[in-house]
Point group: C2
Chain length 346, copies 2
DNA sequence: GTGAAAGCGCTAACAC
DNA sequence: GTGTTAGCGCTTTCAC
């Protein structure tokens, strides 16, 4: 109910001290006597003194806030990235401001502007699919706000980048399909705009080549969002063809789930007739019947790494030291379930 | 690369004006001539002037940041709530700081402290299951930071509250099971600690009573987390009994998915032998086979409403006007799928 | 319409 | 060890 928050001045007046002395005491500075320190602490406690962080932030020109822009929160991969970011940031005493671009460049731009207003110390961003211009990020950098890109990155800007090895993940996924005896492997992919989808496509092609399998145009289905509906429709088309695949590697889990639904509708056995492989391991993937094999991305670890990098840059920037930008590639791993292995209990 | 951000002083010096005049011009104050206003705007533009928000926030003692604490981001309901919060906050020019408690009171406490450091203008919180003491929130209120509670609320604190009508949702869900001809309806519930679970249990009981169905102890399964595993095990136990239910209403969707998996393992037909109903409509619920009937909560709307309420309180608080705390109850609705309706195509 | 002066709360630099 | 002075960048009040 204390309408008026108490200030150092109030404590100083009550104890007959000067304001700086009270400040020194509360900040545990060396040049202050133990006795006054004790007095100050006790009174501060009693009055429920709370530092006015507006003043401190203003003085230091630092907010201890990291901005985070991602395309969609309601997305298994990104919620986990955010999870990792928050966990790691808290350890270092930083807070997280969150914004979602909804895959819109305009929205991403507004996010950056909102953040500038809040004077974030650094930005972690996963670009929207529609972002081609990165001037908004360059502007942040010019104002000494470090930027770290994660997952969906751009080469148009020099920053630290964190990606996972989409190429290798896709390669291994495709190779797994070969190893279970599949030779006619289709791929459902996206618009190839984001770097990630393109890399998965590259990995798929490389694995086919490695195992001397022909790359057939009619086995490649490009769709827009790589959503469940896209996967469903693409699979129906694939199975309508004369030359049918006996395995489908999908660039996303939702598409793979659509594929499974389509195959079930057509009464095609999974994985005996057609095996299905996804990418990203959404939590719904273990729920579908049959459970979906997929490629696990180190989502939380990517978030944590991003925080470590950005805090490092913030520190260096404060000291006017130069920063070296690296691209960090994180390893994926396969999670194998019944959509490729079959049910061993039956 | 302008190491040194430019200030009003710089513009003033260059134009031979005083600092306050430049300030007036940039803020479109009335008592400034059009000609100087124009000159100032042009130079500001040219120099890429950006207001130092640290100074402004300090002066106004306002951050335009709303803190949000929720138990878990990686949770369909909460990601959607956050989605609504961010969307609505952006409209009003507010940013969102996010923290997750992981259902831990200690963690929730740290979140509040982190937020105090960042001088949030208001807090939207969904309490952790383990929170019984609300002094940390009361402390915020005492420092003039409005608090709005959402979904998981406490009566120990006077604030605006947003909940959805869990009682009615559960009532209607249970009634739907009656309407499809089920008379022996089991309920899988939680520790009854959070208000929400308790209300769902109440709704279940009320619907049974309304339809003159007996409430049997052996049809009530209490579990800890109401997770998929919990639902799976509880269902196995239910179906092991002599007196078996022919419908199961689960307090959460994950539990319902566990229930479906258990029933399928036992080769029990859904919904002919046992119908299954969930609560919350997770995105995986439409993916499972058979697709799960559930209760839809207006998650995004709840988030938006929370932002409207908190901003209103922030405004009133600035003007030292009193706030009236209300509890807003939002309506749920049923989404009916094959786990209760059966497959009409077969 | 414009400038001079003051102050938001805190801390660093300088005296003594 | 402690007090005095000054300043972070901006806006508001009061002169003229």
């Amino acid at each position: 109910m204390s309408k008026h928050n108490i200030r150092l001045k109030d404590i100083a007046k009550e104890l007959g001290l000067s304001v700086p002395s009270v400040s020194r005491a509360l900040n545990n500075k060396p040049d202050i006597s133990e006795s006054t320190k004790k007095k100050v602490f006790e009174l501060a406690e009693k009055l429920h003194y709370q530092r006015n962080e507006f003043a401190v932030n203003f003085k230091n020109q630092q907010s201890f806030i990291i901005g985070v822009i991602i395309p969609q929160i309601v997305h298994h991969f990104f919620s986990n990235v955010i999870n990792g970011i928050i966990t790691e940031a808290e350890k270092a005493g930083y807070g997280i401001m969150l914004y979602q671009s909804n895959e819109s460049y305009q929205s991403e731009l507004r996010g950056v502007q909102t953040f500038q207003r809040s004077m974030i110390d650094g930005l972690i961003i996963s670009l929207s699919d529609s972002t081609t211009n990165v001037d908004h990020l360059r502007s942040l950098q010019n104002h000494n706000v470090p930027v770290v890109m994660i997952d969906k990155v751009s080469n148009a800007l020099e920053t630290a980048k964190i990606i996972c090895d989409d190429f290798k993940g896709a390669f291994e996924a495709t190779e797994h399909l070969v190893q279970i005896g599949k030779t006619k492997i289709a791929h459902i992919t996206g618009s190839l705009e984001p770097h990630t989808t393109k890399e998965r496509y590259r990995g798929y092609k490389a694995a086919l080549k490695q195992h001397n399998l022909e790359l057939k145009d009619q086995f490649i289905k490009k769709c827009n969002l790589v959503s469940q509906d896209d996967g469903f429709n693409a699979t129906l088309e694939l199975m309508k063809q004369h030359d049918k695949p006996n395995a489908i590697f999908c660039a996303t889990d939702p598409a793979a789930i659509g594929a499974i639904k389509a195959l079930k509708k057509l009464n095609i056995k999974i994985p005996e007739d057609v095996a299905v492989m996804g990418f990203s391991d959404w939590n719904m993937s273990s729920v579908i019947d049959p459970p979906l094999s997929s490629v696990i991305q180190p989502d939380q670890e990517m978030g944590k790494k991003a925080v470590q990098l950005i805090i490092n840059e913030i520190e260096l920037s404060k000291q006017n030291k130069p920063v070296q930008y690296k691209t960090h590639v994180m390893e994926t791993s396969l999670i194998l379930r019944e959509s490729t292995l079959g049910n061993k209990n039956e």
